[in-house]
């Protein structure tokens, strides 16, 4: 398949996923949630006349297909509606909170990459050893620890007991404030990255070129660093990219525990007061970021490795 066709297909898929999400949200928002948007915005005490006017203004008195069209048209112009609670446009609220989340997610991604690669190098080729058993157990333990529990334990140890690290807030983007939340967020994912890095490295170690490198006199480590790593990175990078999107969304609980003023914590407050446009808006934005990143990585990967776009390697 030529590269242009591959890119076109992936972009089409991206559009389909976003359109699908948006359509499901439209159905949920307009058909299943009791009471309409006008009622929710004006409250129970609104006069029938005011309700009527607002419904007309929002297009709620039109037929369903027209409403759907209007909704898509507004989305196309980044108009995600107005927050019931804050009385501001949803897109401006999201833009206010997005940088803090991106900052936290970026830091966590860096951390899990470093820790995961170290984990992979340490355990690759050591199946069925005592180290293997130990790392499997501790890895499962980390994967099973809920982020909020880990976060609160870290807060207690490093904040309440030792008093050496700040436990809440953004601290004006001071990196010290980043240490605990980023560690909390990265811990479980580092294990997943590590497991992936390990099996990917092991796959390369079994290849003939690796044996050839050893035969030319390279030590196991030299062959691994000089030859194996580069070939092993593909799946790891794909995983990391998928993960960046997941981090953007999954940061919610970490943000709540650490009072981090990001989009996740904002969505949490929106959910508490059932500010539907704000919830839907954040979900649309997060899903869009997530699928865009994974599509870009797929395209990049397909560009670098022709076997991917030929479908010779599934899923990578």
């Amino acid at each position: 398949m030529p590269i242009s066709r591959f890119i076109f297909n992936r972009l089409l898929q991206l559009l389909a996923v976003i359109l699908g999400t948006v359509t499901v949200l439209f159905i949920v928002l307009y058909l299943l949630v009791p009471g309409d948007a006008a009622q929710a915005m004006l409250g129970a005490k609104a006069t029938p006349q005011a309700l009527e006017n607002l419904r007309h203004e929002l297009g709620l008195d039109r037929s369903l297909p027209v409403q759907y069209g209007l909704y898509l048209w507004r989305l196309l112009h980044f108009d995600l509606g107005t927050s019931y609670e804050l009385n501001r446009s949803v897109s401006s609220v999201i833009l206010d909170y997005l940088p803090a989340t991106a900052y936290l997610a970026g830091a966590a991604l860096l951390l899990e990459t470093l820790a995961g690669m170290a984990w992979g190098f340490l355990t690759a080729g050591r199946r069925s050893t005592r180290l293997d058993f130990l790392t499997t157990i501790s890895g499962s333990l980390l994967l099973s620890t809920p982020v909020f529990f880990l976060g609160m334990v870290l807060q207690y140890i490093f904040g309440s007991r030792l008093g050496i690290l700040p436990i809440s807030g953004l601290g004006g983007y001071n990196p010290v404030y980043l240490i605990l939340p980023a560690t909390t967020l990265a811990a479980a994912q580092a294990v997943i990255v590590g497991t992936m890095a390990r099996s990917s490295l092991e796959l390369q170690m079994a290849r003939p070129y690796f044996l050839a490198a050893r035969a030319r006199g390279l030590t196991h480590r030299q062959a691994l660093v000089g030859h194996g790593t580069r070939n092993a990175l593909g799946p790891v990078v794909t995983l990391l990219a998928i993960d960046l999107g997941a981090l953007m969304g999954g940061a919610m609980i970490t943000e709540i525990v650490f009072s981090w003023p990001g989009i996740g914590r904002m969505t949490y407050y929106a959910a508490q007061v059932r500010d539907v446009p704000l919830i839907i808006g954040s979900v649309v934005v997060l899903v869009a970021i997530f699928v865009t990143i994974s599509t870009l990585v797929d395209i990049m990967y397909g560009w670098l490795d022709p076997r991917v776009r030929l479908g010779a390697i599934s899923d990578g």
């Binding site: 389909a16 996923v17 699908g20 999400t21 949920v28 928002l29 299943l32 949630v33 080729g125 050591r126 199946r127 069925s128 499997t136 499962s140 333990l141 099973s144 620890t145 809920p146 909020f148 529990f149 609160m152 334990v153 807060q155 207690y156 309440s160 994912q189 997943i192 497991t195 992936m196 990917s200 170690m205 079994a206 044996l211 050893r214 030590t219 196991h220 995983l239 998928i242 999107g245 997941a246 969304g249 919610m252 609980i253 969505t267 949490y268 929106a270 959910a271 508490q272 059932r274 539907v276 919830i279 839907i280 979900v283 997060l286 899903v287 997530f290 699928v291 994974s294 899923d315 990578g316």
Partner: protein, 300 residues
């Protein structure tokens, strides 16, 4: 240092060489994981079943005289802000978590069987349709979908089930589909076709029993993931509602009191971790798959 011994032996292993023994050792390691996980999970399930028979304090009754008291003989794990016994609440909450985790996974499994079966056995159109839907669901994190679901439909245990099953089935569908695809090419399927077996008969008699096995590992993983999601949702007040005990909810209530009452963290936190890990070990041991999309699912 010479590390030659660490190069994995190329497949297939000769039945008597060193690879044979390392194969056995590896099998034993993985069986050990499954055994440890299954034993812990079974112990937790039995304990949860016996909770009503145990001489425990009422998990819902407040007693403000003893609010936030440290662990003692009267309250082995201390009490929360409302003076409720922590031990009793943690034990009662195990019923909530296990019920949600197992039931939601079962529902997801059944939807996955239907969709994956249709995709793998129902022809090209059904395959394309079912897999595109599954891909759309797989294209964003479960926890995000679950949070949106709960935020829109409101909290409560029934919606927790629905949210987890609604976003959990695509993994089962994918695994079952690929399993069905390989089984339907087997010679016994052609043989059955040859002697005139009907398409549904063959599916029920041959394809289904031979394709469900890989799903068992994912079912165990899915229970672990569902327990984590339930506790996460309850932690942010979108899951199980007060005053009913749930581990996530208990940790959420403890959030403001870490300084005065750190014991409130330990029991529910350890309970979630141990229960999740038990099911997780079973799943990992049963299947060491590394499909990143599926591996990450339990957690993202």
């Amino acid at each position: 240092m010479d590390n030659l011994g660490t190069i994995p032996a190329p497949l297939p292993a000769s039945p008597r060489g060193p690879a044979f023994f390392s194969g056995i050792r590896r099998q034993a390691n993985e069986n050990r994981l499954v055994a440890v996980g299954a034993a812990i999970a079974l112990a937790i399930i039995i304990m949860a079943a016996l909770v009503p028979l145990l001489p425990l304090a009422d998990p819902l009754k407040p007693d403000y005289e003893v609010g936030l008291s440290a662990p003692s003989a009267a309250h082995l794990l201390g009490t929360d802000l409302h003076g409720r016994d922590q031990l009793s609440r943690v034990l009662w909450a195990s019923r909530t978590s296990l019920t949600v985790g197992i039931t939601a996974s079962l529902v997801a499994l059944i939807i996955g069987l239907v969709m994956g079966g249709a995709a793998g056995y129902g022809g090209r159109v059904a395959d394309a349709a079912a897999m595109r839907i599954a891909d759309a669901f797989l294209s964003f994190p479960v926890i995000l979908g679950a949070i949106a679901f709960m935020a829109v439909f409101g909290p409560g245990i029934r919606n927790v089930f629905m949210a987890i099953a609604f976003f959990g089935w695509p993994v089962f569908a994918r695994v079952f589909r690929s399993s069905v695809l390989s089984v339907r090419e087997q010679s016994y399927v052609s043989a059955s076709k040859g002697v005139g077996g009907g398409s549904f008969y063959i599916f029920r008699r041959h394809v289904l029993p031979n394709s469900v096995q890989p799903l068992i590992a994912y079912a165990a993983m899915s229970v672990a993931g569902a327990i984590l999601i339930e506790s996460g949702l309850s932690f942010i007040n979108l899951g199980i509602q007060r005053p009913y005990p749930s581990w996530g909810l208990m940790l959420g209530e403890a959030m403001g009191q870490i300084d005065q009452a750190p014991w409130l963290l330990i029991a529910p936190g350890a309970a979630i971790t141990i229960t999740t890990m038990a099911f997780f070990l079973m799943g990992t041991g049963l299947s060491r798959k590394t499909d990143p999309r599926i591996q990450g699912r339990a957690h993202s």
